[in-house]
């Protein structure tokens, strides 16, 4: 018997399609449904061609199939506005929700930092923060593991082509959510996030800078070791995650300069910001599946 958990993807846009392509290679998650709201959408057509079931009536259209198809996990790549209802309806049926929207109903999840805890606690809704958060918070956490960080600041620079209308209309949500997660998950006492959108052609690869101010003089060797170890952890699910320069030490400032190259599944390689979201979301679901297979958590019972 397969240990794979069956999944539904809500939102057949760029993110949903990229997620589907990654999922088709997964040893732990099996995509079954793609849910949209427009029967004519390119995304649903693509999903159908890729051999999975499609539904154009929103989440309500699949509720009756959840138990019969044994759906255990859902990925929501729609918007913060509809996420709460999607989550409520699916949670009720015992489906674990991985939230790729900025809704952040559930706890923030940065896989190498706190995913194991969320899986062991069987959190029924986890939020994937933001692309900038996925790329940088592991570094903040790597430093705060060694010693207290009074201030963590991240600067995410992304290609104009990789920033969708949802992010643009509410860019404050990016800075607020990311700064909050730098504190809650990264462990910095105070967090700050900046996003820069660059229209250069050919598009630039996602790059991120992380500055930490440590409470006392930084332990350079221990921080360097911790940072390199954390980079390796992220590379397990995002192979194109690279430390370009650093850690650089200047007084109590510790700085890391990162670059994130995507796998180029559906989204282009420069869009490492989108790729790290889909990769982290899939990694999250896989961890739940692994824990369930090992018997350390028990998925909600079904009659």
């Amino acid at each position: 018997m397969s240990n794979k958990l069956k999944a539904v993807i809500i939102g057949p846009g760029n993110i949903g399609t990229d997620l589907l392509m990654k999922m088709q290679r997964s040893e732990w998650i099996e995509p079954v449904w793609m849910v949209g709201i427009d029967p004519e959408s390119e995304g649903l057509k693509r999903a159908k061609e890729m051999g999975i079931k499609v539904c154009a009536e929103g989440v309500d259209g699949i509720l009756s199939h959840i138990v019969e198809d044994d759906i255990r996990v859902a990925f929501d790549a729609t918007s913060a506005y509809v996420h709460a209802e999607n989550s409520r309806k699916l949670n009720e049926l015992g489906v674990i929700m991985i939230d790729l929207t900025p809704a952040a109903i559930g706890p923030f999840c940065i896989p190498p930092v706190n995913l194991t805890d969320h899986a062991k606690n069987l959190e029924m809704n986890v939020n994937m923060v933001t692309c900038g958060g996925q790329a940088t918070i592991p570094m903040v956490a790597a430093v705060s593991k060694v010693q207290p960080v009074t201030y963590g600041e991240i600067i995410a620079t992304v290609s104009s082509r990789s920033v969708g209308p949802g992010t643009r209309v509410n860019i404050d949500e990016f800075t607020r959510t990311t700064a909050g997660a730098v504190e809650k998950v990264g462990g910095a006492k105070q967090g700050k996030a900046i996003i820069i959108i660059n229209p250069a052609e050919p598009p630039l690869m996602m790059r991120d800078t992380v500055h930490c101010l440590t409470e006392s003089e930084p332990d350079q060797d221990a921080i360097t070791e911790s940072v390199h170890a954390m980079v390796k952890e992220v590379q397990k699910y995002v192979p194109g995650y690279r430390l370009v320069n650093g850690p650089v030490f200047d007084g109590n400032r510790v700085s890391m300069f990162m670059e994130v190259e995507g796998l180029g599944d559906f989204l282009p390689k420069y869009a490492g910001n989108l790729d790290i979201m889909t990769a982290a979301a899939l990694r999250t679901a896989e961890m739940f599946a692994e824990e369930a297979a090992e018997g350390s958590i028990t998925l909600p019972a079904r009659g």
Binding site: N170, I194, P199, E201, T209, S255
Partner: protein, 341 residues
Amino acid sequence: MNLEGKQVTLHDMSLRDGMHAKRHQISLEQMVAVASAMDAAGMPLIEVTHGDGLGGASVNYGFPAHTDEAYLKAVVPQMKQAKISALLLPGIGTVDHLKMARDCGVHTIRVATHCTEADVSQQHIGMAAKMGMDTVGFLMMAHMITPEKVLEQAKLMVSYGANCIYCTDSAGYMLPDEVSAKIGLLRAELPSEIEIGFHGHHNMGMAIANSLAAIEAGAVRIDGSVAGLGAGAGNTPLEILVAVLNRMGAETGIDLYKIMDVAEDLVVPMMDQPIRVDRDSLTLGYAGVYSSFLLFAQRAEKKYGVSARDILVELGRRGTVGGQEDMIEDLALTMAKAKQA
């Protein structure tokens, strides 16, 4: 050129763009003294914010001597006729900062985006307009795109509620013909009630000439700074612009001798380094690079032994935009490694 009888609103940048040149370390006393003297000289609009706008306090851009709130609360109540403006860059500052500025008595909000990314300003322009503020859309690094593209992005900002649009030469790259073409098209195509503004830098020695070209083409708001205190080779020096406009018969409402005195007696003595067109600031203009990168590139030169000019030219080649200060240390580290290899 005939500017006879034209009314021009000058907008001082020395206490905001000048913050770049002062590493954001202007004291509260200096802020109040300079703003009060400008107020007395008849300056109608004065910008007071961190160099990178509201919320700019950061490792990336530099922590200021005081918060935006402290500066605004110190300056605004002292003004007799001048209005105070604040700058906001979406992605750095948020609507929370905007509301704070409004509560401090700020009259004008200027929402700045890279010239191709106007659609990130909808929240902020919308909120400022809704609160009844004088709301300006500020398209930075406008030398990088065609006049038609500037117009397209300006129309977006107008649709969100901006009542004034700026064509901003953040790199001090433009020559007068380009300014004429861009401002001219904005003036021809935007509704007549929308004001047009121009913000220049002196990196190619063109700030006065460009400002005149902008006025001729229809701009009614011109940014500059007393004694040129601003990023790069500074902004359009306002005391010079006032003198030139006086000679041409354009009207600014500013007392020339008083503004000369502010420049000479208050602002020049504040400068940490001469603000002039030199090798590095000229490179900014020549390579089309964001003016506030200057001091960061010079610091990287000292720390990593890579020439500031080489760093700036490479930043231009890579198409960096405003706000990418973090790229400078990263690039200097990479260039230093390449030198060793």
